[in-house]
Structure formats: C-alpha cells, structure tokens
Amino acid sequence: MEEQLRNKAKELLETGCVKVVIGYGWNRTKTRTAPVFITRPEDADRLVWNPLCVNNLSVYLTRKFKDIQALGKPAIVAKGCDIRNIVVLITEAQVRREDVVIIGMTCGGVVYRQELWKGELKPEIMPTKCANCGVRNPRVADFVIGERSSFTPPEAPTGMVFDKIKAIDAMTPAERWNFWIGEFSRCIKCYACRQVCPLCYCERCITEKNMPQWIETSAHPRGNLSWNLTRAMHLVGRCTFCGECERACPVNIPLNLMNQKMIQVVDEAFAFKSGYDEKTHPPMIVFSPDDKEGFIK
C-alpha cells in the first residue's frame, strides 16, 4: 500500500496536478508518525502508511492554514473517517470538492494513541470509532489505495464510549453534573481540542472575542464549563466522532463522550449523520418544515 501511495503522490506532483501532498511520515526515530507536506516528487518516498497514522489531516484544509493553502492545490492522504470531515467542510462551503484531491486509504483501524503501539494492532488499543466503522472503504475519494475491506460494523454500536454514555445516561442530573464538572475541572484551556478539530475552523473563535469577554479565559470551573459546553454546542450535527479532540487533550478529558452523545441526539431528532454526503447540508444550518418539534413543550 505504501508503495502505491508513494507512486500516486509522485505522479500527482510530477504532472503538476497538485502542488502539495499532505500525508504521514516518520519522526526521526521511526517510532511515531507525524503530518508531512510533500512538495517535491522525489520526497514522496517519505510518505508512510500504518496503524500509527492517527491524525485527521483534513484540519490542514481549513482556512486557519493560509500558508499551506499558499503552497497550491493539495492532495490529502485520508482514511474513510477523515474523509467524513472533508465532506462536512464541503457542505459548509469551506472547501470545494474540485479543489482537493483525496487519496483514500482502505483502513484496518488505527491506534487510539501512538504511545500505545507495541507492534501489533489489537482491539483494546483502538478507538471506539474503529470498532463501528462503516467507512473502512473510503467513499468520496479520487483514488482509493489498498485492498477492499470486508469489515461490516456491528448492528448495535459497541465500545467503551457507548458503554460510558449508557452509564452517564443512567445517572441523576446531579450525578451527571458532578461527573462533568469533575472532568472539566482539569481543563487547562490550551485549546488543543479546538486547534486539532477540522471543524473548528473559525479564524476568530468566540473565546477570542474579548469586548466583552464572552467566554472567560480563566481555567477556573466557571471558565472551563463555559468553554467546554460552548465548543460542544458549536459542533452539534457537525462532529463526525473522529476523536481528534480527545486524542489531543493533554489532560484526558473524555470529549468523545460528549461528541457521541450529540451525534445520537442529532440522529434521533433529524435522522442525520454528518460526513456521509457532500450534497446534504447539516441540519443546524437548514430549516425544514418536517423538523420534529418535540423539544417544544
């Protein structure tokens, strides 16, 4: 697969079809992968593909990265789940389909965090998304690299995130409040969750609006709560459960629980899952007379 990927990248750069290939490469000691930006065909051999390729590189397609856009038309190495974020970016008019070449990688899953890798991909070191993945064969790609995967996701979603959501749903409101306040109390306001998220593309985040200061920048319980809840609300109906925010969070706040819960709520209310169809707008930006109004009591 790696060979095919490199050849494809080389070809795209040689023909001038794209100016940069955004993909994965090794660090110096070949123990971790990191994003690489290949601009010369002869550097295409730096591209790698393996279960350590966890990053969702579609963040680099957003307008936050003007210097990357200045390189010229990109091709992006993307897993099926990463492509879902590109699809959302397309539906939200952030990226035009024809402006990016998507090199879809068929996927057998990745590690939850790279430091867990001990040379073998086992279910217990994989994120919940992989166990329920319906996009191991990438859709919406210009090229697909790799053997077709025959994986079919289980009927009822499984994994730690789903189990925990059930446990939290069973709590009393007070218990639930205490649970989240406890988790958010560790937040250090680094904004890694926001920066790594391909859908947090605002150039001026609400936390940066300081006349008045809408979201307190202090990492005290009130400031943390307003930050984490506001960010969650801004992702409703958009978040794809790619898991990048939780992976990036340096203090292990289980952001995936919020993400998946929101996905469930949106699915119940609008029968919508984000990132599958680049022609359908997400429910929060369209009004439809058929929308359920059950929430008005």
Binding site: N27, A34, F65, A192, A219, P250
Partner: protein, 341 residues
Amino acid sequence: MADGFLKKDDLNRLRASVAAKGGRFVAPVTVARQTVFKETAPSDEVALGYILARNSYKEFLFPQTEAIAEFSIHRQGVELRGKDADARDTVIFGARPCEAASLASLRAVFTWGFIDESYTKREDKTVVITVACTSGDDACFCTTVGLSPESAAGSDVMFHETDADGWLVYAVTEKGRAFIEAHADAWSAAAPEDAVARTLFMPPVIAGVDIKKIGERLKKKDHYDEPLWAELTRKCIGCGACTYVCPTCHCFDITDEGAAFEGERRKNWDSCQYDSFTLHASGHNPRDAQWKRWRNRFMCKFNFYPEKFGSKGCVGCGRCVRVCPVRLDITEVMEEMSKRP
C-alpha cells in the same frame, strides 16, 4: 555523604510534618490515568513509578489563573483593590532535575525590570525536592542541553533512590538544609548499610545537536525567513499544549472578569502559539503564519533566554514532545538548526 535517609513508608510522615507546620505538599499523583503534580490531600497517594509528571510544577509558583485585583465601579468612580499573592510554604516533592533547573529561568523573567512579587514571594516560600531519575523515555533529552539526572541546579533537596526501600537525602541549598532540620522527625539520620544509590537513567545525547551552533545561528537575523522554518514546523496546529506543559514558558495575559459593575482582574496563562497573541488592534499580525509562531517559541528557548538572561530556555524535559498532537519534536528542529552556521 548523605544528609539523611527517608524510608518510602515514612513519606507520609514527612507530608504530615509539612502539613502540621501549615505548608502545602505538592507531589505527583495519578489523576485520570496520568501522573500530575497536585497539591495533595491526606487521602492522595503519591505516585512513585513515574517518569515525569504531565504538568510542570510551575503552576504552583505561577498559577494558571490568579486574581491580581478586584474592581468595582460606582457613581464616584472606579475602585481598584490590589490582591496580594497567597504565598504559602510549599514543598514540591518529586521534581526531576530538568524541571528544577527551570526555576532560575522563570525567576529571571519575573524579576526582569519589574519584580513580579506574585512569583517571587511564592518561589521564596517553596522547597523543591528533586528525585533523580532512574527511568526515562524516548522524549527525555536533558543530556543534550547540558543537564543530566544528576544536575542539582534549582533543587533545594536531592533524593536518590536506593534498593533499601527509601531515598538518600542530600541538602543542596541552605533552604534545603533548613527544611531537613525542620522536619528532622521524618527521616532517619543515617542510611542503612545497603542503601546504595541506584544507577541513574542517562538519555543518550542526540549527536546531531549542537546548542552553541544553534545559538549562533539564531543570533544572526538572516535565519528569520529561511524556508526551513516553514518546512519543519508548518504541521504545528497552534494549540498551546506545549507551552502550557513547558517548565520555562511563562507568558500570561491580563483579563477582566465579572459583572458590569464589579469584578476581578485576572492574570491567566497565555501562549505564543495562539494567533491572537500578537494580533494588533489594527488587524495586522506580525506572526501571521503558524510556523512564525513556532519560530518564536524556538527563539525564546535558544536565543532570548540564553542571550538576555544567561539561563536555559529549554531544559530537555521532553514534555512538549510528548504532548504535541502532531508530534512536532523540538529536537528534530534543533538537529536541523545545528547543521548550518
């Protein structure tokens, strides 16, 4: 000769002794599957088998958020009341030699021109107990920046692990000696016969890195627009994670919080990795791309700190490497920057 011996079982006696004298005891504790420095409650169990706490203990000297004044607005005008730092006797237990060395750097910044008492008062009341490293990981590189697990700079008391279920205790500073004496009850004066210090973990020196060359190269301003910066660091997504865990990063912002007519003026950590950090009111941003912000971080570590303060900007703790979501490894940049003059 060691100045004492502390049995691991007696650590709680030391904690109790500190608490009895009204001090707070900060130590590594496991929280949410991570080892972090935390002000311990008596029920907290101090973690012992860790490499390095996820956070730096700077937050106990330079809090992440701190009210420095209170204000209220009346018909007669604005009333501003300054707030003094709540400097308490503090013991930091379980620091590592790399981060201990960062205190001199923080002090240099916070006493440069203006004495920031909210830092100095806290540091003056802090005793740093460093435990020399017997384990490490592939992100540790203290030996590459001229430190080592043996370095005592910044520590008041140094602990060395032994196979005799305890630590050999060494006073490093006068403050440390006074601390040992003040808590004499906690340790046995003499070490048992078999208390031999364990071999320390020495991270291999990264051969391609030459700190002197990096310093010289950064002194000349013509490196500023070299394409190398963008090539090496454009993957940075501009989260502030590296700066928040770094023991020498010290930037903060002042913000007012509260209701319309009264509130607090707070001093909050800030990060040079945010695009709003250098955004001017005019809309102009001198660091308008992420690689320029990252270049600033590198400059801060290997030019500003050494040139302005003669102190270390990077102590090689590797925290930024471990925490970075895109694995931007500062040592890889150091290596590239060592290559040409």
